[in-house]
Symmetry: C2
Subunit: 143 residues, 2 copies
């Protein structure tokens, strides 16, 4: 049977269920969940602007600015002037930022392992593919 | 390639991306996102207690109590004494509550349609199956 509206609810419930574990893993590295999300997006897409990072993290620009400040102060994220645009600042991870994402990986893999514990390897690959395509579809639709 | 830790991040991003749309759909029926989640869980599982509803909605008992109060006041949710346990109160949707969930359905289906727009019918069915199994695995693991 094709789903009809319920997957939005299921994704919300999954996120709510995983949130405390995700937050705990982030807190163990002195980050909030929002900060972890930001560094994970920056690792995938270095050299983007704060507003682009906000868009990709699905939060408002001001929220992202507040999220970033402690990361810059802690030396995990670097702001550099875009050589092609005088006033535009580009964000990337510092070496410490890269190390933080690397250190987070085992905890994230542990949470994911729990999530996927009833799926076969082939099903895990298919799920990752489907969710990636869902994300691109939502991303394309804008906010 | 098997996923390694990234699916937790993807699910979080999907939820963040869908959240404004979900909240808008709930607001159109004078409910918060948390209240919508509660009525959707109650439709699936009528006759549960508030603490069980909190557990299944992955929120704290006090948070659920605050979420429920306006729903009871608005006549969407009914509390009834459990005939088998003198002091235990069981929750269910009233007729108005059932109608509210029914009215929400087209908006939820619309959001889901956007989410699934790049997946074939067979892939949609598989995704719903996988996510359901993920939810059960997380549910089994407790908080």
């Amino acid at each position: 049977m094709e789903p009809h509206g319920n997957l939005v609810h299921v994704i919300r419930q999954l996120e709510l269920a995983l949130r405390p574990r995700f937050a705990d893993a982030c807190a163990a590295h002195a980050m909030t969940a929002a900060q972890c999300t930001a560094v994970m997006v920056l690792q995938q897409s270095p050299g983007i602007t704060s507003s682009e990072l906000a868009r990709r993290s699905f939060v408002r620009a001001q929220t992202m600015a507040d999220t970033l400040e402690p990361l810059v102060d802690a030396g995990l994220v670097r702001r550099e002037r875009d050589p092609r645009h005088g006033r535009r600042m580009l964000l990337s991870l510092t070496e410490r930022g890269v190390a933080a994402v690397t250190e987070l990986a085992p905890a994230m893999a542990g949470i994911e392992g729990l999530l996927l514990s009833d799926l076969s390897p082939a099903e895990r690959v298919a799920l990752a593919d489907y969710l990636g395509r869902c994300r691109r579809a939502v991303d394309r639709a804008g906010r």
